[in-house]
Protein backbone atom coordinates (compact mmCIF):
# COMPACT_ATOMS: atom_id res chain seq x y z
CA UNK A 1 0.00 0.00 0.00
CA UNK A 2 2.67 2.50 0.99
CA UNK A 3 4.83 1.33 -1.86
CA UNK A 4 2.03 1.90 -4.30
CA UNK A 5 1.49 5.32 -2.85
CA UNK A 6 5.21 6.02 -3.24
CA UNK A 7 5.08 5.08 -6.90
CA UNK A 8 2.06 7.33 -7.37
CA UNK A 9 3.96 10.15 -5.75
CA UNK A 10 6.91 9.69 -8.07
CA UNK A 11 4.72 9.40 -11.16
CA UNK A 12 2.76 12.53 -10.32
CA UNK A 13 5.84 14.60 -9.60
CA UNK A 14 7.65 13.34 -12.69
CA UNK A 15 4.64 14.21 -14.84
CA UNK A 16 4.32 17.66 -13.28
CA UNK A 17 8.00 18.44 -13.77
CA UNK A 18 8.00 17.15 -17.35
CA UNK A 19 4.96 19.28 -18.15
CA UNK A 20 6.53 22.32 -16.53
CA UNK A 21 9.66 21.84 -18.65
CA UNK A 22 7.56 21.59 -21.82
CA UNK A 23 5.76 24.77 -20.78
CA UNK A 24 8.92 26.69 -20.26
CA UNK A 25 10.60 25.17 -23.33
CA UNK A 26 9.29 27.64 -25.90
CA UNK A 27 10.60 30.57 -23.87
CA UNK A 28 14.02 28.90 -23.63
CA UNK A 29 14.14 28.28 -27.39
CA UNK A 30 13.14 31.87 -28.11
CA UNK A 31 16.02 32.97 -25.90
CA UNK A 32 18.54 30.64 -27.54
CA UNK A 33 17.53 31.61 -31.07
CA UNK A 34 17.61 35.29 -30.18
CA UNK A 35 21.32 34.95 -29.47
CA UNK A 36 22.32 33.07 -32.61
CA UNK A 37 24.04 34.48 -35.68
CA UNK A 38 21.90 35.10 -38.77
CA UNK A 39 23.27 31.99 -40.44
CA UNK A 40 22.86 29.65 -37.54
CA UNK A 41 19.23 30.65 -36.98
CA UNK A 42 18.51 29.12 -40.38
CA UNK A 43 20.12 25.81 -39.49
CA UNK A 44 18.83 23.08 -37.26
CA UNK A 45 21.49 23.45 -34.57
CA UNK A 46 19.67 24.47 -31.41
CA UNK A 47 22.52 25.63 -29.18
CA UNK A 48 24.19 28.92 -30.21
CA UNK A 49 27.70 28.40 -31.58
CA UNK A 50 28.52 31.88 -30.42
CA UNK A 51 26.50 34.18 -28.19
CA UNK A 52 25.49 37.16 -30.26
CA UNK A 53 24.28 39.64 -27.64
CA UNK A 54 24.46 42.34 -30.26
CA UNK A 55 21.19 41.05 -31.75
CA UNK A 56 19.19 43.02 -29.23
CA UNK A 57 20.94 46.26 -30.16
CA UNK A 58 20.44 45.31 -33.79
CA UNK A 59 16.67 45.07 -33.24
CA UNK A 60 16.58 48.58 -31.83
CA UNK A 61 18.75 49.87 -34.64
CA UNK A 62 16.80 48.22 -37.45
CA UNK A 63 13.24 48.98 -36.30
CA UNK A 64 11.20 51.62 -34.53
CA UNK A 65 11.07 49.46 -31.42
CA UNK A 66 11.74 52.37 -29.11
CA UNK A 67 8.89 54.42 -30.56
CA UNK A 68 6.57 51.43 -30.44
CA UNK A 69 7.45 50.79 -26.81
CA UNK A 70 6.75 54.39 -25.94
CA UNK A 71 3.42 54.37 -27.81
CA UNK A 72 2.38 51.14 -26.17
CA UNK A 73 3.31 52.49 -22.76
CA UNK A 74 1.34 55.71 -23.24
CA UNK A 75 -1.66 53.79 -24.57
CA UNK A 76 -1.61 51.25 -21.71
CA UNK A 77 -1.06 53.80 -18.92
CA UNK A 78 -3.64 56.34 -20.03
CA UNK A 79 -6.23 53.66 -20.75
CA UNK A 80 -5.65 52.10 -17.34
CA UNK A 81 -5.93 55.37 -15.43
CA UNK A 82 -9.08 56.35 -17.34
CA UNK A 83 -10.53 52.90 -16.77
CA UNK A 84 -10.02 53.13 -13.02
CA UNK A 85 -11.56 56.60 -12.78
CA UNK A 86 -14.67 55.54 -14.68
CA UNK A 87 -15.12 51.93 -13.61
CA UNK A 88 -14.72 52.16 -9.85
CA UNK A 89 -17.79 54.43 -9.40
CA UNK A 90 -19.90 52.12 -11.58
CA UNK A 91 -18.81 49.02 -9.70
CA UNK A 92 -19.46 50.86 -6.44
CA UNK A 93 -23.02 51.66 -7.49
CA UNK A 94 -23.70 48.15 -8.71
CA UNK A 95 -22.45 46.54 -5.53
CA UNK A 96 -23.72 48.92 -2.83
CA UNK A 97 -27.02 50.48 -3.86
CA UNK A 98 -30.32 48.68 -3.82
CA UNK A 99 -32.33 49.95 -6.74
CA UNK A 100 -34.74 48.77 -9.35
CA UNK A 101 -32.83 47.67 -12.39
CA UNK A 102 -29.60 46.86 -10.59
CA UNK A 103 -29.93 43.28 -11.77
CA UNK A 104 -30.56 44.38 -15.35
CA UNK A 105 -27.58 46.71 -15.18
CA UNK A 106 -25.36 43.84 -14.06
CA UNK A 107 -26.57 41.68 -16.93
CA UNK A 108 -25.80 44.53 -19.34
CA UNK A 109 -22.27 44.61 -17.93
CA UNK A 110 -21.85 40.91 -18.68
CA UNK A 111 -23.31 41.28 -22.18
CA UNK A 112 -21.00 44.18 -22.94
CA UNK A 113 -18.06 42.23 -21.59
CA UNK A 114 -18.84 39.29 -23.86
CA UNK A 115 -19.59 41.36 -26.97
CA UNK A 116 -16.97 40.63 -29.64
CA UNK A 117 -15.29 43.98 -30.33
CA UNK A 118 -15.66 43.41 -34.08
CA UNK A 119 -19.47 43.51 -33.87
CA UNK A 120 -19.64 47.25 -33.29
CA UNK A 121 -16.41 48.12 -35.08
CA UNK A 122 -17.81 49.72 -38.26
CA UNK A 123 -20.03 52.47 -36.76
CA UNK A 124 -17.51 53.28 -34.03
CA UNK A 125 -14.73 53.52 -36.60
CA UNK A 126 -16.85 55.92 -38.63
CA UNK A 127 -17.34 58.15 -35.58
CA UNK A 128 -13.60 58.34 -34.94
CA UNK A 129 -12.97 58.93 -38.63
CA UNK A 130 -15.39 61.87 -38.56
CA UNK A 131 -13.58 63.25 -35.51
CA UNK A 132 -10.36 62.83 -37.50
CA UNK A 133 -8.83 60.67 -34.76
CA UNK A 134 -8.07 57.58 -36.81
CA UNK A 135 -4.37 56.97 -37.50
CA UNK A 136 -3.80 57.43 -33.80
CA UNK A 137 -4.34 55.44 -30.62
CA UNK A 138 -6.90 57.87 -29.16
CA UNK A 139 -9.89 55.78 -30.29
CA UNK A 140 -8.57 53.08 -27.98
CA UNK A 141 -7.82 55.36 -25.02
CA UNK A 142 -10.75 57.77 -24.84
CA UNK A 143 -13.55 55.17 -24.52
CA UNK A 144 -11.96 54.06 -21.26
CA UNK A 145 -13.34 57.27 -19.72
CA UNK A 146 -16.77 55.65 -19.94
CA UNK A 147 -16.15 52.45 -18.02
CA UNK A 148 -14.82 49.10 -19.07
CA UNK A 149 -17.24 46.19 -18.72
CA UNK A 150 -14.68 43.59 -17.71
CA UNK A 151 -13.19 45.81 -15.01
CA UNK A 152 -16.60 46.81 -13.68
CA UNK A 153 -17.58 43.16 -13.55
CA UNK A 154 -14.45 42.12 -11.72
CA UNK A 155 -14.55 45.01 -9.23
CA UNK A 156 -18.21 44.42 -8.55
CA UNK A 157 -17.56 40.73 -7.87
CA UNK A 158 -15.03 41.77 -5.27
CA UNK A 159 -17.02 44.63 -3.75
CA UNK A 160 -20.10 42.51 -3.03
CA UNK A 161 -17.93 40.38 -0.76
CA UNK A 162 -17.40 43.38 1.55
CA UNK A 163 -20.03 42.98 4.30
CA UNK A 164 -22.74 45.62 4.35
CA UNK A 165 -22.12 46.21 8.06
CA UNK A 166 -19.03 48.26 7.26
CA UNK A 167 -20.81 50.71 5.00
CA UNK A 168 -23.95 50.74 7.14
CA UNK A 169 -21.90 51.76 10.15
CA UNK A 170 -20.36 54.60 8.16
CA UNK A 171 -23.81 55.65 6.98
CA UNK A 172 -25.08 55.82 10.57
CA UNK A 173 -22.16 58.12 11.31
CA UNK A 174 -23.52 60.38 8.58
CA UNK A 175 -20.88 59.74 5.91
CA UNK A 176 -21.73 60.70 2.35
CA UNK A 177 -21.48 58.19 -0.50
CA UNK A 178 -18.25 59.78 -1.65
CA UNK A 179 -16.73 59.57 1.83
CA UNK A 180 -17.77 55.93 2.14
CA UNK A 181 -16.18 55.13 -1.20
CA UNK A 182 -12.89 56.75 -0.25
CA UNK A 183 -12.59 55.81 3.41
CA UNK A 184 -14.26 52.40 3.56
CA UNK A 185 -14.48 50.79 0.12
CA UNK A 186 -11.28 51.81 -1.61
CA UNK A 187 -8.88 50.75 1.16
CA UNK A 188 -10.56 47.35 1.41
CA UNK A 189 -10.71 46.89 -2.36
CA UNK A 190 -7.03 47.58 -2.93
CA UNK A 191 -6.17 44.04 -4.10
CA UNK A 192 -9.02 44.02 -6.59
CA UNK A 193 -8.12 47.47 -7.88
CA UNK A 194 -4.50 46.43 -8.29
CA UNK A 195 -5.65 43.35 -10.20
CA UNK A 196 -7.92 45.19 -12.65
CA UNK A 197 -5.26 47.85 -13.18
CA UNK A 198 -2.70 45.18 -14.06
CA UNK A 199 -5.13 43.30 -16.27
CA UNK A 200 -6.05 46.47 -18.10
CA UNK A 201 -2.43 47.47 -18.58
CA UNK A 202 -1.51 44.05 -19.89
CA UNK A 203 -4.57 43.91 -22.11
CA UNK A 204 -3.48 47.14 -23.79
CA UNK A 205 0.15 46.06 -23.92
CA UNK A 206 -0.90 42.88 -25.75
CA UNK A 207 -3.72 44.36 -27.81
CA UNK A 208 -3.32 43.72 -31.50
CA UNK A 209 -6.81 44.12 -32.93
CA UNK A 210 -7.33 47.66 -31.63
CA UNK A 211 -4.07 49.15 -32.95
CA UNK A 212 -4.46 47.24 -36.22
CA UNK A 213 -7.79 48.95 -36.72
CA UNK A 214 -6.79 52.47 -35.70
CA UNK A 215 -3.04 53.07 -35.76
CA UNK A 216 -2.83 53.26 -39.57
CA UNK A 217 0.12 52.69 -41.86
CA UNK A 218 2.59 55.13 -40.32
CA UNK A 219 5.00 53.17 -38.15
CA UNK A 220 5.36 56.24 -35.93
CA UNK A 221 1.93 55.42 -34.47
CA UNK A 222 2.39 51.69 -34.09
CA UNK A 223 2.41 49.68 -30.91
CA UNK A 224 4.71 46.79 -30.06
CA UNK A 225 2.25 44.13 -31.16
CA UNK A 226 1.78 45.78 -34.56
CA UNK A 227 5.51 46.14 -35.01
CA UNK A 228 6.22 42.60 -33.96
CA UNK A 229 3.53 41.23 -36.25
CA UNK A 230 5.25 42.79 -39.24
CA UNK A 231 8.79 42.26 -38.03
CA UNK A 232 9.21 38.84 -39.61
CA UNK A 233 8.03 40.11 -42.98
CA UNK A 234 10.50 42.99 -43.00
CA UNK A 235 13.42 40.86 -41.83
CA UNK A 236 12.28 37.71 -43.46
CA UNK A 237 15.22 35.38 -43.12
CA UNK A 238 16.36 36.62 -39.74
CA UNK A 239 14.59 34.43 -37.24
CA UNK A 240 17.21 35.38 -34.66
CA UNK A 241 16.24 39.07 -34.81
CA UNK A 242 12.55 38.19 -34.83
CA UNK A 243 13.03 36.10 -31.70
CA UNK A 244 15.10 38.84 -30.08
CA UNK A 245 12.25 41.28 -30.74
CA UNK A 246 9.76 38.74 -29.40
CA UNK A 247 11.78 38.45 -26.23
CA UNK A 248 12.02 42.22 -25.83
CA UNK A 249 8.23 42.57 -26.13
CA UNK A 250 7.64 39.77 -23.65
CA UNK A 251 10.25 40.63 -21.04
CA UNK A 252 8.52 43.62 -19.40
CA UNK A 253 5.36 41.59 -18.86
CA UNK A 254 7.24 38.74 -17.26
CA UNK A 255 9.24 41.08 -15.03
CA UNK A 256 6.13 42.87 -13.78
CA UNK A 257 4.47 39.53 -13.15
CA UNK A 258 7.35 38.21 -11.08
CA UNK A 259 7.05 41.25 -8.82
CA UNK A 260 3.27 41.27 -8.59
CA UNK A 261 2.56 37.57 -8.71
CA UNK A 262 0.11 37.46 -5.83
CA UNK A 263 -2.01 40.29 -7.18
CA UNK A 264 -2.32 38.36 -10.42
CA UNK A 265 -3.22 34.98 -9.03
CA UNK A 266 -5.81 36.50 -6.69
CA UNK A 267 -7.26 38.56 -9.51
CA UNK A 268 -7.43 35.61 -11.87
CA UNK A 269 -9.29 33.49 -9.36
CA UNK A 270 -11.74 36.36 -8.98
CA UNK A 271 -12.62 36.04 -12.66
CA UNK A 272 -13.46 32.38 -12.22
CA UNK A 273 -16.59 33.20 -10.20
CA UNK A 274 -18.71 30.54 -8.78
CA UNK A 275 -21.57 31.20 -11.17
Amino acid sequence: MTRRRGLYWIAQHALAIALALIFIGPIVFIGLTALMTDEQALTSRLWPDQWNWGNFAEVFARSELLTWTLNTFVYASLATVFMLVSSIPAAYALSRFRFKGSKVAFLVVISAMMLPPQVVAVPIYLVWARLDLTDSLWPLILPMLFGDAFSIFLLRQFLITIPRDYTDAAKVDGCSDVRILFTVILPMARPAIAAVALFSFFYCWNDYYGPLLYAGVDQENWTLSLGLASFKAFHSVQWNLTMAATLLVTAPVIIVFLFAQRVFIEGVTLTGVKG
Binding site: F23, L107, I124, A229, V268
Partner: protein, 304 residues
Protein backbone atom coordinates in the same frame (compact mmCIF):
# COMPACT_ATOMS: atom_id res chain seq x y z
CA UNK B 1 -39.55 51.97 -0.33
CA UNK B 2 -38.81 55.69 -0.28
CA UNK B 3 -35.25 54.88 0.77
CA UNK B 4 -34.92 52.61 -2.25
CA UNK B 5 -35.99 55.36 -4.60
CA UNK B 6 -33.38 57.68 -3.07
CA UNK B 7 -30.73 55.04 -3.60
CA UNK B 8 -31.93 54.62 -7.17
CA UNK B 9 -31.24 58.27 -7.99
CA UNK B 10 -27.83 58.13 -6.35
CA UNK B 11 -27.00 54.90 -8.15
CA UNK B 12 -27.99 56.51 -11.43
CA UNK B 13 -25.63 59.38 -10.69
CA UNK B 14 -22.71 57.03 -9.98
CA UNK B 15 -23.50 54.95 -13.02
CA UNK B 16 -23.96 57.86 -15.42
CA UNK B 17 -20.52 57.85 -17.09
CA UNK B 18 -20.84 54.16 -17.77
CA UNK B 19 -24.42 54.55 -18.99
CA UNK B 20 -23.21 57.13 -21.50
CA UNK B 21 -20.57 54.59 -22.52
CA UNK B 22 -23.18 51.87 -23.00
CA UNK B 23 -25.26 54.20 -25.17
CA UNK B 24 -22.35 55.42 -27.29
CA UNK B 25 -20.24 52.28 -27.61
CA UNK B 26 -22.85 49.53 -27.40
CA UNK B 27 -26.44 50.51 -28.19
CA UNK B 28 -25.85 53.14 -30.87
CA UNK B 29 -23.29 51.13 -32.88
CA UNK B 30 -25.43 48.02 -32.68
CA UNK B 31 -28.45 49.84 -34.15
CA UNK B 32 -26.23 51.57 -36.65
CA UNK B 33 -24.78 48.23 -37.73
CA UNK B 34 -28.29 47.00 -38.54
CA UNK B 35 -28.86 50.17 -40.58
CA UNK B 36 -25.62 49.85 -42.54
CA UNK B 37 -26.25 46.18 -43.25
CA UNK B 38 -28.94 47.27 -45.73
CA UNK B 39 -26.65 49.77 -47.43
CA UNK B 40 -23.63 49.85 -49.63
CA UNK B 41 -21.10 52.11 -47.95
CA UNK B 42 -17.41 52.66 -48.68
CA UNK B 43 -16.76 55.79 -46.56
CA UNK B 44 -17.86 58.03 -49.46
CA UNK B 45 -21.18 56.94 -50.93
CA UNK B 46 -24.13 55.51 -49.06
CA UNK B 47 -26.70 53.63 -51.07
CA UNK B 48 -29.71 51.59 -49.93
CA UNK B 49 -29.54 48.10 -51.44
CA UNK B 50 -32.10 46.16 -49.40
CA UNK B 51 -31.07 42.62 -48.69
CA UNK B 52 -28.23 42.44 -51.23
CA UNK B 53 -25.50 42.35 -48.57
CA UNK B 54 -27.34 39.62 -46.72
CA UNK B 55 -27.82 37.57 -49.86
CA UNK B 56 -24.17 37.99 -50.78
CA UNK B 57 -22.94 37.04 -47.31
CA UNK B 58 -25.03 33.90 -47.13
CA UNK B 59 -23.76 32.80 -50.54
CA UNK B 60 -20.13 33.73 -49.72
CA UNK B 61 -18.06 30.55 -49.49
CA UNK B 62 -15.58 32.31 -47.20
CA UNK B 63 -18.34 32.91 -44.66
CA UNK B 64 -19.15 29.21 -44.76
CA UNK B 65 -15.49 28.33 -44.39
CA UNK B 66 -15.14 30.71 -41.42
CA UNK B 67 -18.14 29.13 -39.75
CA UNK B 68 -16.69 25.64 -40.19
CA UNK B 69 -13.33 26.74 -38.83
CA UNK B 70 -14.99 28.31 -35.80
CA UNK B 71 -17.02 25.14 -35.29
CA UNK B 72 -13.75 23.21 -35.27
CA UNK B 73 -12.35 25.52 -32.60
CA UNK B 74 -15.50 25.14 -30.49
CA UNK B 75 -15.60 21.36 -30.81
CA UNK B 76 -11.89 20.62 -30.39
CA UNK B 77 -9.91 23.57 -29.08
CA UNK B 78 -12.22 24.72 -26.27
CA UNK B 79 -12.79 21.25 -24.74
CA UNK B 80 -9.10 20.43 -25.12
CA UNK B 81 -8.18 23.59 -23.26
CA UNK B 82 -10.69 23.03 -20.44
CA UNK B 83 -9.78 19.36 -19.95
CA UNK B 84 -6.06 20.06 -20.13
CA UNK B 85 -6.32 22.91 -17.62
CA UNK B 86 -8.39 20.75 -15.30
CA UNK B 87 -5.82 17.94 -15.54
CA UNK B 88 -2.92 20.25 -14.76
CA UNK B 89 -4.83 21.87 -11.88
CA UNK B 90 -5.70 18.47 -10.44
CA UNK B 91 -2.04 17.47 -10.72
CA UNK B 92 -0.99 20.66 -8.94
CA UNK B 93 -3.27 19.89 -5.98
CA UNK B 94 -1.23 16.73 -5.39
CA UNK B 95 2.06 18.61 -5.15
CA UNK B 96 3.27 19.14 -1.62
CA UNK B 97 6.61 20.81 -2.19
CA UNK B 98 7.47 23.05 -5.11
CA UNK B 99 3.81 23.78 -5.85
CA UNK B 100 4.51 27.52 -5.90
CA UNK B 101 7.26 27.23 -8.52
CA UNK B 102 5.23 24.86 -10.69
CA UNK B 103 2.23 27.18 -10.48
CA UNK B 104 4.38 30.06 -11.67
CA UNK B 105 5.81 28.01 -14.54
CA UNK B 106 2.36 26.98 -15.75
CA UNK B 107 0.97 30.49 -15.47
CA UNK B 108 3.90 32.31 -17.08
CA UNK B 109 3.17 31.40 -20.75
CA UNK B 110 -0.36 32.79 -20.49
CA UNK B 111 1.22 36.20 -19.91
CA UNK B 112 3.32 36.13 -23.06
CA UNK B 113 1.68 38.69 -25.38
CA UNK B 114 -0.49 36.91 -27.94
CA UNK B 115 1.45 38.26 -30.90
CA UNK B 116 4.78 37.26 -29.37
CA UNK B 117 3.52 33.79 -28.43
CA UNK B 118 2.13 33.18 -31.90
CA UNK B 119 5.27 34.37 -33.68
CA UNK B 120 7.31 32.13 -31.39
CA UNK B 121 5.12 29.11 -32.13
CA UNK B 122 5.41 29.61 -35.87
CA UNK B 123 9.16 29.48 -35.35
CA UNK B 124 9.11 26.50 -32.96
CA UNK B 125 6.88 24.58 -35.35
CA UNK B 126 8.80 25.58 -38.44
CA UNK B 127 8.94 22.32 -40.40
CA UNK B 128 12.57 22.65 -41.54
CA UNK B 129 14.48 24.30 -38.71
CA UNK B 130 12.09 24.39 -35.75
CA UNK B 131 13.08 22.46 -32.62
CA UNK B 132 9.79 20.54 -32.41
CA UNK B 133 10.19 18.69 -35.70
CA UNK B 134 13.85 18.07 -34.88
CA UNK B 135 12.90 16.48 -31.58
CA UNK B 136 10.35 14.39 -33.45
CA UNK B 137 13.03 13.38 -35.97
CA UNK B 138 15.27 12.09 -33.16
CA UNK B 139 12.59 9.60 -32.23
CA UNK B 140 12.04 8.68 -35.85
CA UNK B 141 8.91 10.66 -36.62
CA UNK B 142 8.66 12.97 -39.61
CA UNK B 143 6.87 15.99 -38.21
CA UNK B 144 4.03 17.63 -40.13
CA UNK B 145 4.13 20.98 -41.87
CA UNK B 146 2.21 22.55 -38.92
CA UNK B 147 1.23 26.16 -39.77
CA UNK B 148 2.01 25.54 -43.44
CA UNK B 149 -0.55 22.80 -43.91
CA UNK B 150 -4.30 23.21 -44.00
CA UNK B 151 -4.79 20.04 -42.00
CA UNK B 152 -2.35 20.93 -39.22
CA UNK B 153 -2.81 24.69 -38.87
CA UNK B 154 -5.72 24.51 -36.42
CA UNK B 155 -4.12 21.75 -34.31
CA UNK B 156 -1.03 23.99 -34.15
CA UNK B 157 -3.13 26.81 -32.78
CA UNK B 158 -4.65 24.37 -30.31
CA UNK B 159 -1.15 23.63 -28.99
CA UNK B 160 -0.68 27.36 -28.61
CA UNK B 161 -3.99 27.54 -26.72
CA UNK B 162 -2.93 24.75 -24.36
CA UNK B 163 0.35 26.52 -23.74
CA UNK B 164 -1.57 29.64 -22.75
CA UNK B 165 -4.09 27.82 -20.55
CA UNK B 166 -2.48 29.10 -17.34
CA UNK B 167 -5.41 31.35 -16.52
CA UNK B 168 -7.86 28.46 -16.53
CA UNK B 169 -5.39 26.35 -14.55
CA UNK B 170 -5.33 28.98 -11.77
CA UNK B 171 -9.12 29.28 -11.73
CA UNK B 172 -9.60 25.53 -11.57
CA UNK B 173 -6.89 25.14 -8.97
CA UNK B 174 -8.65 27.65 -6.70
CA UNK B 175 -11.95 25.82 -7.23
CA UNK B 176 -10.39 22.43 -6.49
CA UNK B 177 -8.80 23.69 -3.30
CA UNK B 178 -12.21 25.04 -2.26
CA UNK B 179 -13.83 21.60 -2.23
CA UNK B 180 -14.45 20.76 1.44
CA UNK B 181 -11.91 18.19 2.65
CA UNK B 182 -14.39 16.33 4.83
CA UNK B 183 -16.32 15.21 1.74
CA UNK B 184 -13.25 13.30 0.54
CA UNK B 185 -12.63 11.84 3.97
CA UNK B 186 -16.20 10.60 4.18
CA UNK B 187 -15.94 9.08 0.70
CA UNK B 188 -12.63 7.41 1.52
CA UNK B 189 -14.21 5.79 4.58
CA UNK B 190 -16.96 4.48 2.31
CA UNK B 191 -14.22 2.95 0.18
CA UNK B 192 -14.49 5.22 -2.87
CA UNK B 193 -11.36 5.16 -5.05
CA UNK B 194 -9.62 8.19 -6.55
CA UNK B 195 -11.62 8.18 -9.79
CA UNK B 196 -14.92 7.63 -7.96
CA UNK B 197 -14.13 10.52 -5.61
CA UNK B 198 -13.31 12.75 -8.54
CA UNK B 199 -16.55 11.89 -10.31
CA UNK B 200 -18.95 12.02 -7.37
CA UNK B 201 -17.44 14.83 -5.34
CA UNK B 202 -14.98 17.00 -7.27
CA UNK B 203 -16.87 17.31 -10.55
CA UNK B 204 -20.27 18.22 -9.07
CA UNK B 205 -18.74 20.81 -6.74
CA UNK B 206 -16.62 22.55 -9.37
CA UNK B 207 -19.03 22.14 -12.28
CA UNK B 208 -20.25 25.78 -12.16
CA UNK B 209 -16.65 26.94 -12.56
CA UNK B 210 -16.05 24.49 -15.42
CA UNK B 211 -19.28 25.58 -17.06
CA UNK B 212 -18.37 29.25 -16.81
CA UNK B 213 -14.95 28.57 -18.26
CA UNK B 214 -16.34 26.49 -21.14
CA UNK B 215 -18.96 29.08 -22.08
CA UNK B 216 -16.52 32.00 -22.00
CA UNK B 217 -14.12 29.78 -23.93
CA UNK B 218 -16.73 29.33 -26.65
CA UNK B 219 -17.44 33.06 -26.79
CA UNK B 220 -13.74 33.78 -27.15
CA UNK B 221 -13.48 31.09 -29.85
CA UNK B 222 -16.26 32.85 -31.76
CA UNK B 223 -14.23 36.08 -31.74
CA UNK B 224 -10.90 34.33 -32.41
CA UNK B 225 -8.77 36.81 -34.30
CA UNK B 226 -5.24 37.68 -33.26
CA UNK B 227 -3.56 34.27 -33.08
CA UNK B 228 -5.04 33.12 -36.39
CA UNK B 229 -4.18 36.37 -38.15
CA UNK B 230 -0.60 36.43 -36.88
CA UNK B 231 -0.02 32.75 -37.61
CA UNK B 232 -1.25 33.20 -41.19
CA UNK B 233 0.78 36.30 -41.67
CA UNK B 234 4.07 35.10 -40.23
CA UNK B 235 3.83 31.64 -41.79
CA UNK B 236 3.08 33.10 -45.21
CA UNK B 237 5.54 35.97 -44.81
CA UNK B 238 3.05 38.74 -45.61
CA UNK B 239 2.86 42.21 -44.09
CA UNK B 240 -0.30 44.14 -43.54
CA UNK B 241 0.53 47.67 -44.38
CA UNK B 242 -2.50 49.08 -46.17
CA UNK B 243 -2.09 48.74 -49.90
CA UNK B 244 -0.58 45.28 -49.70
CA UNK B 245 -2.81 42.38 -50.38
CA UNK B 246 -2.67 40.13 -47.37
CA UNK B 247 -5.78 37.98 -47.27
CA UNK B 248 -6.35 36.29 -43.95
CA UNK B 249 -6.73 32.53 -43.70
CA UNK B 250 -3.40 31.12 -44.92
CA UNK B 251 -3.00 28.19 -45.56
CA UNK B 252 -5.99 27.66 -47.88
CA UNK B 253 -8.40 29.48 -45.63
CA UNK B 254 -7.75 26.97 -42.84
CA UNK B 255 -7.32 29.76 -40.31
CA UNK B 256 -10.01 32.10 -41.58
CA UNK B 257 -12.53 33.13 -38.95
CA UNK B 258 -15.50 35.45 -39.28
CA UNK B 259 -13.92 38.32 -37.30
CA UNK B 260 -10.96 38.30 -39.69
CA UNK B 261 -13.20 38.10 -42.72
CA UNK B 262 -15.21 41.01 -41.31
CA UNK B 263 -12.07 43.01 -40.68
CA UNK B 264 -10.78 42.41 -44.17
CA UNK B 265 -14.12 43.16 -45.82
CA UNK B 266 -14.76 46.31 -43.80
CA UNK B 267 -11.34 47.83 -43.30
CA UNK B 268 -9.23 46.58 -46.19
CA UNK B 269 -11.82 46.34 -48.96
CA UNK B 270 -13.94 49.08 -47.36
CA UNK B 271 -17.21 47.22 -48.03
CA UNK B 272 -18.64 48.42 -44.77
CA UNK B 273 -22.25 47.42 -45.36
CA UNK B 274 -21.23 43.85 -46.02
CA UNK B 275 -18.95 43.89 -42.98
CA UNK B 276 -21.98 44.90 -40.91
CA UNK B 277 -23.78 41.75 -42.04
CA UNK B 278 -20.80 39.74 -40.84
CA UNK B 279 -20.91 41.69 -37.60
CA UNK B 280 -24.56 40.82 -37.02
CA UNK B 281 -23.89 37.15 -37.73
CA UNK B 282 -21.10 37.29 -35.18
CA UNK B 283 -23.41 39.05 -32.74
CA UNK B 284 -26.14 36.43 -33.12
CA UNK B 285 -23.80 33.54 -32.40
CA UNK B 286 -22.01 35.14 -29.47
CA UNK B 287 -25.30 36.37 -27.98
CA UNK B 288 -26.60 32.80 -27.99
CA UNK B 289 -23.80 31.76 -25.67
CA UNK B 290 -23.89 34.96 -23.66
CA UNK B 291 -27.52 34.13 -22.82
CA UNK B 292 -26.37 30.84 -21.31
CA UNK B 293 -23.96 32.83 -19.20
CA UNK B 294 -26.60 35.37 -18.18
CA UNK B 295 -28.92 32.59 -17.04
CA UNK B 296 -26.16 31.13 -14.94
CA UNK B 297 -25.49 34.49 -13.31
CA UNK B 298 -29.18 35.25 -12.69
CA UNK B 299 -29.47 31.93 -10.92
CA UNK B 300 -26.37 32.58 -8.84
CA UNK B 301 -27.66 36.04 -7.90
CA UNK B 302 -31.04 34.63 -6.90
CA UNK B 303 -29.35 32.00 -4.77
CA UNK B 304 -27.14 34.43 -2.86
Amino acid sequence: MAATRGEGVRALLWLSPWLVGVAVFFVYPLLSTVYFSFHRYDLFTLEFIGLDNWRYAFADSRVGQSALNTLWLVVFMVPAQVLFALGVAQLLTKMKSGAGILRTLFYLPSLVPMVAGTVAFVYLLNPATGPVNQALAWIGITGPDWFGSAAWAKPSLTLLALWGAGNAVMIFLAALLDVPKHLYEAAAIDGAGAWRQFRSITLPVISPVLMFSAVTGVIYAVQYFTQAMIASRVASGATDSAGTSFTPGYPDGALLTLPQHLFHTGFRDWSMGLACVHALMLFAVSMLFTLVLLRQFSRAEAAS
